[in-house]
Subunit: 436 residues, 3 copies
Amino acid sequence: QGVVCIFGTGDFGKSLGLKMLQCGYSIVFGSRNPQVSSLLPRGAEVLSYSEAASKSDIIILATHREHYDFLPELVDCLKGKVLVDVSNNLKINQYPESNAEYLAQLVPGAHVVKAFNTISAWALQSGTLDASRQVFVCGNDSKAKHRVMDIARTLGLTPLDQGSLMAASEIENYPLQLFPMWRFPFYLSSVLCVFFFVYCAIREVIYPYVNGKTDATFRLAISIPNRVFPITALILLALVYLPGILAAILQLYRGTKYRRFPNWLDHWMLCRKQLGLVALGFAFLHVIYTLVIPIRYYVRWRLRNATITQALSNKDSPFITSYAWINDSYLALGILGFFLFLLLGVTSLPSVSNMVNWREFRFVQSKLGYLTLVLCTAHTLVYGGKRFLSPSILRWSLPSAYILALIIPCAVLVLKFILIMPCIDNTLTRIRQGWE
Amino acid sequence: QGVVCIFGTGDFGKSLGLKMLQCGYSIVFGSRNPQVSSLLPRGAEVLSYSEAASKSDIIILATHREHYDFLPELVDCLKGKVLVDVSNNLKINQYPESNAEYLAQLVPGAHVVKAFNTISAWALQSGTLDASRQVFVCGNDSKAKHRVMDIARTLGLTPLDQGSLMAASEIENYPLQLFPMWRFPFYLSSVLCVFFFVYCAIREVIYPYVNGKTDATFRLAISIPNRVFPITALILLALVYLPGILAAILQLYRGTKYRRFPNWLDHWMLCRKQLGLVALGFAFLHVIYTLVIPIRYYVRWRLRNATITQALSNKDSPFITSYAWINDSYLALGILGFFLFLLLGVTSLPSVSNMVNWREFRFVQSKLGYLTLVLCTAHTLVYGGKRFLSPSILRWSLPSAYILALIIPCAVLVLKFILIMPCIDNTLTRIRQGWE
Amino acid sequence: QGVVCIFGTGDFGKSLGLKMLQCGYSIVFGSRNPQVSSLLPRGAEVLSYSEAASKSDIIILATHREHYDFLPELVDCLKGKVLVDVSNNLKINQYPESNAEYLAQLVPGAHVVKAFNTISAWALQSGTLDASRQVFVCGNDSKAKHRVMDIARTLGLTPLDQGSLMAASEIENYPLQLFPMWRFPFYLSSVLCVFFFVYCAIREVIYPYVNGKTDATFRLAISIPNRVFPITALILLALVYLPGILAAILQLYRGTKYRRFPNWLDHWMLCRKQLGLVALGFAFLHVIYTLVIPIRYYVRWRLRNATITQALSNKDSPFITSYAWINDSYLALGILGFFLFLLLGVTSLPSVSNMVNWREFRFVQSKLGYLTLVLCTAHTLVYGGKRFLSPSILRWSLPSAYILALIIPCAVLVLKFILIMPCIDNTLTRIRQGWE
Ligand SMILES: Cc1cc2nc3c(=O)[nH]c(=O)nc-3n(C[C@H](O)[C@H](O)[C@H](O)COP(=O)(O)OP(=O)(O)OC[C@H]3O[C@@H](n4cnc5c(N)ncnc54)[C@H](O)[C@@H]3O)c2cc1C
Ligand SMILES: Cc1cc2nc3c(=O)[nH]c(=O)nc-3n(C[C@H](O)[C@H](O)[C@H](O)COP(=O)(O)OP(=O)(O)OC[C@H]3O[C@@H](n4cnc5c(N)ncnc54)[C@H](O)[C@@H]3O)c2cc1C
Ligand SMILES: Cc1cc2nc3c(=O)[nH]c(=O)nc-3n(C[C@H](O)[C@H](O)[C@H](O)COP(=O)(O)OP(=O)(O)OC[C@H]3O[C@@H](n4cnc5c(N)ncnc54)[C@H](O)[C@@H]3O)c2cc1C
Ligand SMILES: NC(=O)c1ccc[n+]([C@@H]2O[C@H](COP(=O)([O-])OP(=O)(O)OC[C@H]3O[C@@H](n4cnc5c(N)ncnc54)[C@H](OP(=O)(O)O)[C@@H]3O)[C@@H](O)[C@H]2O)c1
Ligand SMILES: NC(=O)c1ccc[n+]([C@@H]2O[C@H](COP(=O)([O-])OP(=O)(O)OC[C@H]3O[C@@H](n4cnc5c(N)ncnc54)[C@H](OP(=O)(O)O)[C@@H]3O)[C@@H](O)[C@H]2O)c1
Ligand SMILES: NC(=O)c1ccc[n+]([C@@H]2O[C@H](COP(=O)([O-])OP(=O)(O)OC[C@H]3O[C@@H](n4cnc5c(N)ncnc54)[C@H](OP(=O)(O)O)[C@@H]3O)[C@@H](O)[C@H]2O)c1
Ligand SMILES: CCCCCCCCCCCCCCCC(=O)OC[C@H](COP(=O)(O)O)OC(=O)CCCCCCCCCCCCCCC
Ligand SMILES: CCCCCCCCCCCCCCCC(=O)OC[C@H](COP(=O)(O)O)OC(=O)CCCCCCCCCCCCCCC
Ligand SMILES: CCCCCCCCCCCCCCCC(=O)OC[C@H](COP(=O)(O)O)OC(=O)CCCCCCCCCCCCCCC
Ligand code: HEM
Ligand code: HEM
Ligand code: HEM
């Protein structure tokens, strides 16, 4: 499949060379000290930079940007050749221009292509390419780019054309990112968790301690998390569907869809998927915490004591059908809500969402999503049940946490209900179809 | 990357133009009123149709089919150019011929290519291409098709060659579909659910009401769904494996595999995956409903009362090992069955099934699938246990629901057992290998 | 799209021919008896081998290797043509050389390409290409290879270039494999399960029988599996992270990373993913077995009896906060551990891992993975709690099973703790960055 030259016999150069040899390429390394370079893959030649460059018309530059200074001398022998920049930086936007653009300035005659920087040397070596096999490629010369993409494909990687060399700085930042879209959902949910944890601890640990000197600290392990997690899940779920409503109101107000949303709304709308998945995580925790209830020592002890008390007092406890109804319905609502929640999660898996068309995806995410929200809100409302308005739930005039939790979901549902009334819905549809 | 012309400055035209500009293309719009057209992406030119067409040899037609009537005038300047039809209809098979074929008749000299109709304008705009990135492409001219596929690839989409323009009508119907393969499983399971719901309601709510005036309506929320769901799951699971058996019998009877199955069998076999996943959904609901049992008010109340009654009557309740055995085994069987069920579900995920070879896929789906069916059937059988034959389970001469539920699964297992007996299996294998 | 010739009108030839016809190719079959061959897809011609070969310059050879003997006669008319070998064998490495290489020897003038052998005839026929759509392609002639890859792409398959014809034997072995990487984890976990099952059976069934003639056999169904499964899960989880530590120690000892690990370590490191997923399966079983506890007859009976005994003896059972703390914390630790475990599982899904970059993947798999191990170990330690050192847990001087289970996880955590101490960590980092 032709000869490829690699400059630099470091970690990445070696690994890539080995992989390419296995895939049938001939490899020539260019090195500062061709003699010293040892431990190279068998079958590869090591020459000086200029000699190596003359052997191939595609050169992969596997050295750090800091050491590009030897290149200007080679401008002549690199003229017209494809020069692949694989370098990464240590920090996001470390230099004013991207490494690839810097390289293009250094070696004006060469066709610089950015590629392979997202692939880890160690992964190439060990063969476990479990994380992304995507190779983002960009460059100004279309032919050079396609040659590099062919190489990537031959190595079993997935090249993705990202356009001109201007895209290089984004490509260089990519491997340094750590879940950028998950950051906002993560912080938001942390804040919510901490707030409700403290809130519940005040109501359920400090209050009884102050009022009755009872030690309820053990509630911190399960009882309180099992309030905090579902509340966070519910609020996050509502916050997934709130931006869509705000967007609709804005569009109605402006009368057009051709003006950009404010930045915060845009960003919010783009991280709804992540918000929803974090909510799913919390809902999952809530479910397991709930299912574990009957094997807790505290619950068993309470149950046993209640039974004994009743047996000893010989009092009859009649079966109250309305209690059974309320209890069973809120459980059933929760279960169905959780099931739909999981369905939303499954359809977020990239491979599943890639198999459905837009109509189907929106049906699941938007229609079933709202149904999920309705079910989960109803679950909480019915759980609250009669307790809701009884004054005894106020402790230090703090209402139960779930009452706070219901504010946003209920608001979202009411607004949505208004928006889908025919008169408003028609206007909105007209606006969205672009008929101004 | 060259100039591309887009006819129509509507929603889709604008969105696509913007995206293409971002990916390095130059865009020329063709419009009825080049002056009026506003709000266009920066960097794009707007000209009259004929002027725009002359600037590029690839033209994307972003107007509705109803407005194709301006095209015949342009036949000359479109001669030999690539004309991309992106249009969708409002209903499946709305017109006798597909839009793309209609276009090819209107502009005979152009190379018509159908593409991009599955991509939503709004998704292009907002950048959240979460649903399918697949672009189905078809056309009679192979070179034109490849150019369009290259564009799709550059935009980060996945082009799929669908052959000649005859495929256009299928491609145009695709975005209008709403889970076609899931429809039959959905209706079937709805019918099963409703039937068993009514059946159980008669036995467990109406019967006690008529016979003893007891109000058992609260059973409608959890107790009865927790009969209906597992029964539906079990029957659906059996129906996944029934068509394979029918096919085998048919092949044995005909002595050849080279005759098509009847249509209903073919369709049934093609939606086994969906049937199985729906069954998994119901099984999942059953599991959660079951795990929730001990926190139900009704169950706790009954338990407490039973304990108190026993305590007060001072009767000893000895531990019966056989009960413990039966109870523990049916739970264990259910758990193992559910686990394998989930495994079948995981291997149905497109990305996982794409990583396994045929032998592995069939090992999981066929071998482990039957094992799942065996375990789930055994779970139900052991659950039935002794109750099975006691006459007291008849109410108004209706047997317990699970007895009805067992008919199909047991039949499937017996038939399969017969089919895998060596003599029959050998004949079948011979037929399937094509040695007639 | 041109004419393609298929030699052999067997199962695979027919199915492939039909599929290609549907995708717009013209097909000519070559057969021993062109007259007899019936049941062929409509639109296809059947000729003698030499006639058929003359009609196309790409020939797909759909006969078994055993019948390649007719080919030497055709050497002339196959000269310069692309000859595609699709054959499979019945056993791994059945012949000294691969079928494709053998074919290349038989027909020296043709460009032999290996392809399509991973696709099942039946899947092609029935249209349910649910398992892999990957077509591995190899061949010495790059142009021939690309033509075959184009055909595969047109059929909706995913061609993967595997290099020169030397790769053919690997490609031929692929469809015969049955989860090769899962074998070691499977055997290992089986051994662990059996060992701990017997161990627990001795302690909990045989011991009470011998000592007190109590029949505890029913424990074999749930109680003992619910010891065996979590223990296996925990040990397997620890064994996922042990090889990384051994590798680090080896690198420290050798002072370089450029020497290969011993084979056993290499293999172990490559099947960590599978080990981890099997561990997840066992953990999942543990969780369901645990959640099912309160609906077991045995547990309910014991609870009721304990309550009655207490009620009758009129003894007070005070609430012990430390018990509640211990109980709630080990449950909470288990739940959080399981949640992270699932997260590791979700990120192993090929489509998800393909969306994250290396930094993110390693963050989840390595950092969160160790956190999972810490949580699960802590769960078991706290569960053991005080019981740990009490001599009464020895039966026939066998300690509780979970004590054995803790040995490897604790060792792994201690070693890891040593390795991340700054001085050692720095040395290691230096070694791994290749600065020797
Ligand atoms: C568990 C879980 C998983 C999730 N996974 C995903 C995921 O994978 N991907 C994802 O994107 N979201 C995901 N979400 C988030 C959420 O479900 C979706 O974003 C959902 O589509 C939002 O529905 P909506 O009806 O509020 O908003 P949308 O349908 O997006 O509508 C919101 C606003 O967009 C505008 N709009 C919509 N259509 C048009 C149009 N044709 N033209 C112009 N403007 C338009 C309108 O202003 C509208 O008000 C997930 C949520 C959860 C809970
Ligand atoms: C949770 C769950 C998920 C599922 N996911 C999937 C999925 O993703 N994809 C999927 O396809 N199914 C799926 N299924 C359905 C089911 O598991 C499979 O279809 C399974 O392969 C059926 O096995 P079988 O042995 O009955 O049928 P098959 O193996 O398909 O055999 C059925 C009949 O096909 C014919 N046949 C089989 N092999 C050949 C051959 N070589 N030549 C000629 N004829 C042949 C025979 O007539 C045979 O009787 C799922 C099921 C469940 C419960
Ligand atoms: C549920 C579950 C799912 C899992 N799924 C996967 C999966 O999908 N894919 C997968 O790979 N694993 C998977 N695993 C296994 C495990 O999580 C990972 O292998 C994890 O990366 C191991 O982390 P580590 O820190 O021990 O090892 P690593 O990070 O791999 O490090 C191990 C050793 O490799 C060497 N090393 C690491 N980095 C370098 C480097 N840059 N240069 C030279 N040497 C280096 C060092 O010697 C190091 O000690 C899974 C585990 C579980 C429990
Ligand atoms: N390692 C990875 O996982 C990875 C992944 C993606 C991208 N990359 C990129 O690949 C490039 C190489 O990374 P690496 O990990 O291989 O680095 P490395 O191990 O430090 O190797 C760098 C090589 O550059 C050469 N070099 C040329 N001039 C040099 C100088 N003045 N000082 C030192 N070395 C000089 C040396 O080769 P000679 O001795 O032969 O001259 C040296 O081996 C970097 O740009 C990096 O961002 C690395
Ligand atoms: N919107 C989507 O999500 C989507 C997705 C896939 C495919 N499509 C397809 O793309 C095409 C365009 O859809 P669209 O949503 O962009 O529609 P649109 O917003 O209604 O735009 C249609 C455009 O067609 C032009 N046009 C030409 N002759 C016309 C006439 N007689 N009357 C009205 N307009 C005429 C107009 O542009 P000028 O004013 O510049 O002449 C107009 O802006 C349709 O075929 C549609 O099926 C749309
Ligand atoms: N079946 C699959 O699922 C599958 C999957 C992947 C690969 N393959 C490979 O495809 C090839 C064909 O498999 P198949 O299942 O189609 O086999 P098959 O049904 O047995 O067909 C073999 C064909 O080879 C021809 N043939 C030529 N010389 C022959 C001879 N001396 N004796 C018998 N037949 C002779 C016959 O066609 P004529 O009567 O027309 O001469 C016969 O129909 C094999 O190499 C197989 O490994 C099969
Ligand atoms: C019983 C249910 C258990 C559910 C546990 C769910 C927890 C989910 C928490 C979120 C997981 C996020 C993974 C993050 C990885 C990542 O960063 O992944 C990063 C990628 C890409 O992210 P960007 O779009 O931000 O680049 O994200 C994804 O692809 C998200 C895929 C999410 C998949 C969620 C799947 C949930 C599945 C539930 C499935 C199953 C059902 C079954 C149940 C029995
Ligand atoms: C704890 C277990 C929870 C399981 C909950 C499972 C419910 C499953 C119900 C079916 C889901 C169907 C999704 C439909 C989307 C769709 O239409 O998807 C459409 C696509 C394409 O469909 P077509 O083939 O019909 O075109 O279908 C798929 O790709 C199906 C993928 C199904 C994935 C099912 C995954 C189940 C996963 C279980 C996972 C996890 C295990 C984990 C557990 C802890
Ligand atoms: C409630 C949680 C239930 C979890 C049940 C999990 C059991 C997992 C057991 C392992 C499954 C292995 C599949 C093997 C198929 C195979 O061979 O697959 C083979 C492929 C390729 O294997 P090779 O790399 O060896 O070639 O493997 C994979 O791609 C592995 C994908 C594994 C996916 C595991 C997903 C676990 C998902 C958990 C999801 C969900 C969360 C949700 C929960 C609520
Ligand atoms: C299987 C599904 C579910 C079950 C069995 C279930 C069960 C319960 C139970 C038993 C409670 C009362 C807890 C207590 O007494 O402390 C509860 C409360 C609650 N649940 Fe659920 N639930 C489920 C799903 C959900 C989902 C998906 C959500 C939404 C995100 C949710 C949100 C809530 C909220 C907000 C509360 C009130 C918390 C509080 O203040 O105590 N639940 N749930
Ligand atoms: C974790 C796994 C499972 C557990 C713990 C479990 C548990 C139970 C329990 C406790 C019952 C009795 C319910 C009652 O008394 O009303 C039951 C019944 C039943 N289960 Fe399961 N089960 C599991 C999985 C499954 C699966 C996978 C199936 C098959 C699809 C299944 C099918 C059934 C059926 C058909 C019944 C009889 C329903 C009736 O008529 O009451 N179960 N199961
Ligand atoms: C939802 C999560 C979990 C819950 C509710 C849970 C609960 C429990 C319970 C109740 C026990 C005591 C069992 C008995 O008394 O026989 C236990 C034991 C144990 N668990 Fe978990 N667990 C969870 C997750 C995990 C995970 C992820 C692991 C690790 C892989 C694990 C490992 C163990 C081990 C090793 C034991 C000791 C087994 C024995 O010898 O009895 N658990 N767990």
